[in-house]
């Protein structure tokens, strides 16, 4: 795949997740796709990841993948980005993340994702605080 093809694939992938188009995400994942996340150190399959994405989307009103800095290497891409989330309560949070993806024949074969779970705790604390104020 060319540099341009990999960049396009990267944006197709994040755009599809943003709009909740999981059929498109499924098309982007190769049959042998594996996802690894630094939070757990375990790998998951395409099916397992799609399930996580669907469940995760229900937790927020909106989730956008912004400030994408994409670089490509021989067989893949690196994207550094900010996940900006609007919760159902209207609170906004942001998380900096990095994905290293391997690509082949127009599909993604592997994703290694690096993020900080400390930001989830901050968000949970903020949500708990909001709920205390409301009640």
């Amino acid at each position: 795949m060319t540099d341009t093809e990999m960049r396009a694939l990267c944006h197709c992938f994040f755009d599809a997740i943003e709009r909740g188009d999981y059929a498109a995400v499924e098309q982007i994942y190769a049959p042998q796709f594996r996802m690894w996340v630094n939070l757990t150190g375990t790998e998951s399959t395409a099916e397992e990841n799609l399930s996580v994405l669907r469940d995760g989307a229900k937790l927020h009103r909106r989730r956008t993948y912004d400030d994408r800095i994409v670089n490509t290497f021989a067989n893949g891409f690196i994207v550094q980005y900010s996940v900006n989330v609007v919760t159902h309560s209207g609170a906004r949070t942001s998380l900096a993340a990095c994905v290293v993806a391997q690509c082949h024949n127009g599909q993604i074969t592997r994703i290694d994702e690096y993020l900080d779970s400390g930001k989830f705790r901050s968000r949970a604390k903020a949500q708990a605080s909001e709920e205390r104020i409301r009640t």
Binding site: N38, N71, F73, I78, V100, Y114, L115
Partner: protein
Amino acid sequence: MTEGEIRELCNRFFDAYQDRRVDELAEIYSQDCVVWHNVFGGREMSGKDNLAALPASYDGQRRRTYNDRIINTFDGGFVIQYTLHGVQHSGHKGALWICIVGACSNGKITRIDEYMDSGKFPVWRGARSIEENAS
């Protein structure tokens, strides 16, 4: 810089970091080098400030090794995925999975973006209780 030069610079950087050769790191960082982490408040620091903080940081562990290095290069930089193994003064052994995106120019590193999970820090330090894990 060629792919070979960028790979060599990346390994030189991690070897120097591992061996605590701060003088060598000062040679590797460009004058205007910037270091950013997705943890520690997500602030940028200068290469000089980063180097100044290293001796105190090294005091935290008996030994650190940067293993399982997977390096890919792109136009103007590299991405490295690795496991940081540390031996604390207590003898406790911990590991962190980290990804660094490095920008390079003229044989030097001009920017480092480091991604890790702060949720793993208590286990890395060998915290023994829930209270210590919460800190």
